[in-house]
């Protein structure tokens, strides 16, 4: 299987390349203490036109821009969702905004997950922490066209039970024999009777056919090395493993230099790379 990424963009030019387009926050939902979901709509109701795994640059007046991955599936029409952790600065200002307030949007940017390569395959989704935000877009894309894909296996690690994102929604994913959703937390709390330990402790609980599986990973930098070791042990080929790598994307157009990993711009060539590609990049993991 060769990953076919969207990597040849149509030429982009024009005076407004750096100018965000106004959009309205139509709904917000506090997901955890730090994370909040924003549903955002353009004035003309057009779709964002994104691929799962792509990101947008969100502008908040007076603060500038921050790259945020899109959390909704392209199957959701007319608006899109961003799951934002309050990290101070721009994201804190964004958290202070409410329904009806306006933000600016540029994008979508980056390549996204190669959904066409995942069709007919068993989809093994591995998320750590806020990595669930972009992975939810992939998962909902699979669920929206369920018969086009094989099994759906989700391994999701959080620090504590109260930090689990989209908890209500995750329960709806478990329906159907083809879906296996496994959660774990680093630190248990009263009422938690699930797995305790980092996300790799879930691997003994699953069985995969390495030839038929496509794995997608999104999580904190430390997670990748350990999860890749597990996937290698399962003999999943490196070109069937897709990693979303976080960097500090500023311009989104391969100019500003901030998101570079060796010779690749994450905003153009990424954020999704195969494990095969990542192996040849010194700075990737």
């Amino acid at each position: 299987m060769t990953a076919t990424f969207v990597r040849s963009f149509p030429p982009r030019s024009g005076e407004r390349l750096y100018a965000p387009e106004p959009a309205t926050i139509v709904r917000t939902k506090q997901l955890t203490e730090l994370e909040r979901l924003f549903e955002i709509k353009f004035a003309d109701g057009r779709d964002l036109g994104h691929q799962p795994g792509q990101f947008v640059q969100v502008s908040v007046f007076g603060y500038g821009e921050a790259p945020i991955s899109v959390s909704s599936s392209p199957a959701k029409r007319g608006s899109f969702e961003l799951c934002v952790r309050n990290m101070g600065g721009l994201t804190a200002a964004l958290h202070r905004l409410d329904e009806g307030d306006r933000v600016g949007i540029r994008g979508p940017f980056g390549n996204g997950f190669p959904m066409s390569c995942m069709r007919k395959m068993d989809c093994l989704m591995i998320a750590g922490g806020i990595g669930m935000a972009p992975l939810r877009s992939v998962i909902n894309t699979v669920l929206a066209d369920r018969n086009a894909y094989g099994r759906l296996i989700v391994l999701y690690g959080s620090k504590t039970p109260k930090e689990i994102l989209f908890r209500d929604e995750i329960e709806t994913w478990t329906g159907g024999k083809k879906n296996e959703i496994l959660l774990t937390v680093d630190n248990a709390a009263p009422g938690w009777d699930g797995n305790v330990g980092v996300v790799t402790t879930l691997f003994p609980k699953i069985k995969v056919n390495p030839k038929a599986v496509a794995a997608a990973l999104v999580g904190p930098p430390v997670m990748y090395r350990f999860v890749l070791a597990e996937l290698n042990a399962l003999r999943v080929p490196d070109n069937q493993i897709f990693l979303s790598l976080e960097r500090r994307m500023k311009c989104g157009m391969g100019k500003c230099g901030h998101c570079q990993i060796d010779n690749r711009c994450v905003c153009i060539d990424g954020p999704v790379f195969t494990a095969e590609e990542s192996k040849h990049l010194h700075e990737s993991l």
């Binding site: 030019s13 005076e15 502008s59 990290m87 904190p220 960097r247 100019k255 901030h258 570079q260 010779n263």
Partner: protein, 347 residues
């Protein structure tokens, strides 16, 4: 099209005055005791064409150290691009810096299929008058293929005894030359100008010890060389090297609100991959926390990554970073150490 004419030295200042009346003129001037700087000219008598290198490269005319990209209003939320497309003349650009401008034309104009509108507008508005020069001990243009560049210039000046041999390379250049009091060159003056170029190559003694095309392979072999760590031990991460570099184009974008909070402006300014915060993401993880990694990144970006992508080193041998490095680090010495190591291992 090429038309050649001689500008006698006595007619230069009259020509500069005429040019300055037609469009804003940026040219080298003396700054302080020994330094030169590209500056917007008010008095044409200030223009100095006898400089070796300016502290900052002429890149600033096309990619200013700080520029306003957008003005933003809060209510309604709207962003308006601030495109600068007023014609201007960039005068006295040496071939190395001209090469750098050609590379920026690609980096900001074509690379990744995205045309940066601010850079492209300024570049289209520019008329460039290039000027040939003699090297000093920091120059190594001959070994990175930038000492005889003419592409990108509208008019090219070569110093000769009588003044300058001027060659118009474009219609814009011919129009500038038409405003000068010039005369047809004598045959010996054409020979003199050719001799200048040859003398320049002979005098450029500082060199990289390997062809630019072979550097990606050699550097990759020495990715984990101790040279990077040793260089990092001397480096202060001050960012001088990237600030004075004619080909560096990394930038940061920031928004600054007016005191009224009704409007804001979005600025971009030079950033440096040598700064500790350059690759920090939200939450504080730093993907290039070690100074060794940042130092290596600079040399790799110049001689490996962009070299592979564009087929040219992103270093034009101007010597600025070596001359101005706070710690006295020589870009050429570091590169040659790495080259020597790689060759030693093969031998």
């Amino acid at each position: 099209m090429t038309s050649k004419a001689v500008l006698d030295a006595a007619n230069l200042s009259g020509w500069l005055s005429t040019l300055q009346a037609t469009a804003p003129l940026m040219a080298p001037v003396k700054r302080g005791r020994v330094s030169f700087a590209f500056s917007w000219i008010e008095d044409p008598a200030d223009v100095r064409l006898d400089y070796v290198r300016t502290v900052l490269p002429p890149k600033q005319a096309l990619l200013p150290s700080r520029e306003n990209l957008l003005t933003v209003t809060r209510s309604p939320l709207e962003a308006t691009p601030q495109i600068a497309d007023k014609p201007f003349i960039l005068f006295g650009v040496h071939p190395c810096d001209l090469t750098a401008i050609n590379q920026l034309d690609w980096a900001m104009g074509k690379r990744n299929n995205v045309e940066d509108p601010f850079y492209v507008a300024r570049r289209r508005a520019a008329t460039i008058v290039a000027l040939d020069c003699m090297p000093d001990k920091y120059c190594f243009c001959a070994s990175v293929g930038s000492c005889a560049t003419r592409d990108g210039a509208d008019l090219f000046l070569t110093p000769i005894a009588a003044g300058y041999l001027a060659e118009a390379l474009t219609d814009k250049g011919a129009a500038l030359l038409a405003k000068a009091k010039s005369r047809a060159p004598k045959p010996e003056e054409l020979t003199e100008a050719e001799g200048f170029a040859q003398k320049k190559v002979r005098r450029t003694t500082l060199r990289l010890d390997e062809e630019v095309a072979n550097l990606p392979k050699l550097f990759e072999q020495r990715h984990d060389s101790e040279v990077w760590e040793k260089t990092a031990l001397r480096c202060y991460s001050c960012g001088t090297c990237t600030n004075v570099c004619p080909t560096c184009f990394c930038f940061d974008v920031r928004e600054i609100a007016d005191l009224t909070l009704d409007a804001a402006s979005r600025w971009r300014q030079y950033d440096s991959c040598q700064f500790l915060e350059f690759a920090v993401v939200a939450g504080g993880h730093n993907f290039r926390r070690e100074r060794t990694d940042r130092v290596r990144h600079r040399w790799f970006r110049k001689f490996v990554y962009l070299n592979q992508e564009h087929g040219q080193a992103f270093c034009v041998g101007c010597g600025r970073c070596s001359q101005q490095c706070t710690a006295g680090i020589s870009l050429v010495d570091v590169a040659n150490s790495v080259i020597a190591e790689a060759k030693e291992r093969v031998a």
